[in-house]
């Protein structure tokens, strides 16, 4: 088990390292000059050169990479150009907002998608089920910026129940959470339905029914008990993905998280900030994924106890 954890940890850290290294190279290959964004379009060549020297951008790329590796080792990725503060600190301050949004979205997803999927599996081929099914397909195909703008127009502009942007009050959490959750609910509820339908038709369910187990226990204890593992894994993976993937929603709702931060960092070619954002979100995503992997054996006795011998 310890071996397994160490192996997964090593794989995770390697993934993070390769990701930040790739980003390091890509941003330097992309067009655009940090010095220009920093000093402004009217800056003279001398001014630009001074800025480049200040940021260390006048050195050869390999040398910059070597410095970056040293910084990576010490956990200090340098000053953000635009914030004039340590890049790691800027990202760390934004992280709780993204975590809050992702947690709210995944909780809403679980709370809605699981009962919805169970409900669909128990009423297959009825008119209502067909209606819900069509809705989930629609939810699955709506781009989230579109959903976000529809919700904004509806519930922040036309009927101003919720704030349009930012996170000044808890009300500000509602619309971005719903925007993210709609797609996730569509995906997860269909998965729950598929798992439940299979397990409701499983032989062990018929046998349990034959010994007088009530219908609610058949659904929740047996069918859900056996569907929980893949559903939990899917929710965890989606959560990990949200930690670096809610960019569009954060921008639409001006949410002060890392998603909107990275957009700004990219616009201003703020290399240290881009690298710090990628590093921290990748670490977090890998950490969550590792936790899911570790929880798996707790949920599934077949994994926990292995294929043991006979009695």
């Amino acid at each position: 088990m310890t071996n397994y954890i160490l192996k997964r940890l090593g794989q995770g850290l390697l993934t993070v390292f390769l990701t930040v290294s790739t980003v390091f190279i890509l941003i330097r290959m992309a067009p655009g000059d940090p010095a220009v964004s920093y000093a402004g379009p009217l800056a003279s060549n001398e001014q630009l050169a001074a800025v480049r020297e200040q940021f260390g951008l006048d050195r050869p790329v390999l040398e910059q990479y070597w410095i970056f590796l040293q910084q990576l080792f010490t956990g200090n990725l340098g000053q953000s150009y635009s914030f004039q503060a340590p890049a790691m600190q800027v990202v760390a301050e934004r992280m709780p907002y993204t975590l809050t949004l992702a947690t709210a979205a995944i909780l809403l997803t679980a709370v809605v998608a699981i009962p919805l999927g169970v409900w669909m599996s128990r009423r297959p081929d009825t008119g209502k089920e067909l209606g819900v099914n069509v809705l989930t397909i629609a939810g699955q195909s709506m781009p989230d910026f579109w959903t976000g703008i529809m919700l904004l127009t509806g519930f922040a502009v036309l009927v101003p129940i919720f704030p349009a942007s930012g996170f000044a009050t808890w009300g500000g959490l509602v619309l971005p959470t719903i925007t993210i959750a709609i797609l996730q609910i569509a995906l997860i509820s269909r998965m729950v339905r598929r798992e439940m339908t299979n397990n409701l038709a499983a032989p062990f369910l018929t046998v349990a029914r034959s010994r007088g187990v009530r219908s609610s226990a058949l659904t929740w204890r047996y069918a859900m008990g056996n569907s929980a593992i893949p559903v939990f894994t899917a929710l965890g993976t989606r959560f990990a993905a949200m930690l670096n993937g809610v960019v569009v929603v954060e921008v639409v709702f001006a949410w002060p998280g890392v998603g909107s931060l990275i957009v700004r960092a990219l616009e201003t070619r703020d290399y240290p900030l881009i690298q710090a954002t990628v590093l921290l979100t990748a670490l977090l995503a890998v950490g969550v994924q590792l936790l899911i992997d570790l929880a798996y054996p707790l949920l599934d006795p077949r994994v926990r106890l292995g294929k043991a011998a006979t009695a």
């Binding site: 499983a202 032989p203 062990f204 018929t206 046998v207 349990a208 029914r209 034959s210 010994r211 007088g212 187990v213 226990a217 204890r221 047996y222 008990g225 056996n226 929980a228 593992i229 949920l299 599934d300 006795p301 077949r302 106890l305 294929k307 043991a308 011998a309 006979t310 009695a311």
Partner: protein, 307 residues
């Protein structure tokens, strides 16, 4: 029909003109067509027939385990006097109480993520044999049930999960679960067909032993005449949803009335050398000699040779 022994008590199971129609993509199939039979206390009645003849559908129909929206039941099925065809709710009164199922494939019959103990405890609770709160009583009853089906170190097995037990052990666990409610009628749909030949005999012995101790009635489904001969009092031969022949084991085996039954009999020799080594087969099934079933050693040894 042969003359049945006359019983004054009401049968445990009485099936009259039972029909099951299955709604399938290809249209409506009458999978079970007007079958009638009955089982009294301590009796084993076997339905035998080729694959697809409707045996499982009959058994599952009696237990009302077919999908309600795809299977239409008609006729009368009285379980200990309760008519379960007329009232769909009535089955709840007998399932897990007077009536229990022993499934065909023990490897898939228990939930893989729940322990043996939790599934056995649940059955005990449903039967009302021990209160849910009294953990000690539950445990004691569970251990006693596992002992009854000759499972070694029962306390240890309770903590295990299905994938940790062999098929034969799982079938014993399933029989223990079925016995939790002290049922009067067991329905066994090919209870040994998924098992290794070496453990099949042990399971059949166990069923006979329990039947002798408790006078349980058994509805046995099989396509294996060896099994049928070993444990049955009466046999109904099924073909295309109806019984083509019914009677005492010995009579059916000795004097099959139809070519269909003769063909079923002819399929038997794969089972082993019944006729060559008279002692070999019954020797393994100790319960047979003392069992309450009508089968006896001579029946086993004489009839196998006849095609």
């Amino acid at each position: 029909m042969t003359a049945q022994p006359t019983f004054t008590e009401q049968p445990l199971l009485e099936v009259r003109d039972f029909q099951v129609e299955l709604i399938t993509d290809a249209g409506i199939i009458r999978a079970v067509d007007s079958v009638s039979f009955s089982i009294h206390r301590g009796e084993t009645v076997t339905i035998i027939g080729e694959s697809g003849s409707g045996k499982s559908t009959t058994a599952m129909g009696i237990l009302r385990l077919l999908p309600e929206d795809l299977a239409v039941l008609s006729g009368t099925v009285l379980i200990d006097g309760v008519d379960i065809t007329a009232d769909p709710k009535a089955i709840d009164k007998v399932r897990g109480k007077t009536l229990a199922l022993i499934p065909q494939d023990p490897m898939t019959a228990l939930s893989p993520v729940h322990s043996i103990g939790s599934q056995l405890f649940e059955a005990i609770r449903i039967a009302g044999a021990a209160s849910a709160k009294d953990k000690g009583a539950l445990q004691a009853r569970a251990v006693r049930l596992l002992e009854q089906v000759h499972i070694p170190t029962p306390e240890k097995q309770l903590k295990k999960y299905p994938h940790q037990l062999s098929g034969g052990m799982l079938q014993r666990v399933l029989i223990a679960i079925a016995l939790a409610s002290e049922p009067q009628l067991l329905v066994a749909d090919e209870p040994t067909s998924a098992l290794d030949v070496t453990v099949q005999g042990g399971i059949l012995d166990l069923l006979l032993e329990l039947q002798e101790q408790r006078g349980i009635g058994i509805l046995m489904i099989t396509h294996d005449l060896g099994v049928a001969r070993l444990i049955s009092d009466r046999i109904h031969v099924m073909k295309d949803g109806s019984f083509v022949e019914s009677g005492e084991v010995q009579q059916i085996v000795d004097h099959p009335a139809t070519d269909y039954t003769r063909a079923l009999l002819a399929a038997v020799p794969v089972l082993g050398p019944w006729d060559e080594t008279p002692a070999a087969a019954p020797g393994r099934h100790a319960a047979n000699a003392t069992g309450s079933s009508a089968t006896s050693d001579p029946a086993l040894t004489q009839t196998g040779a006849k095609p």
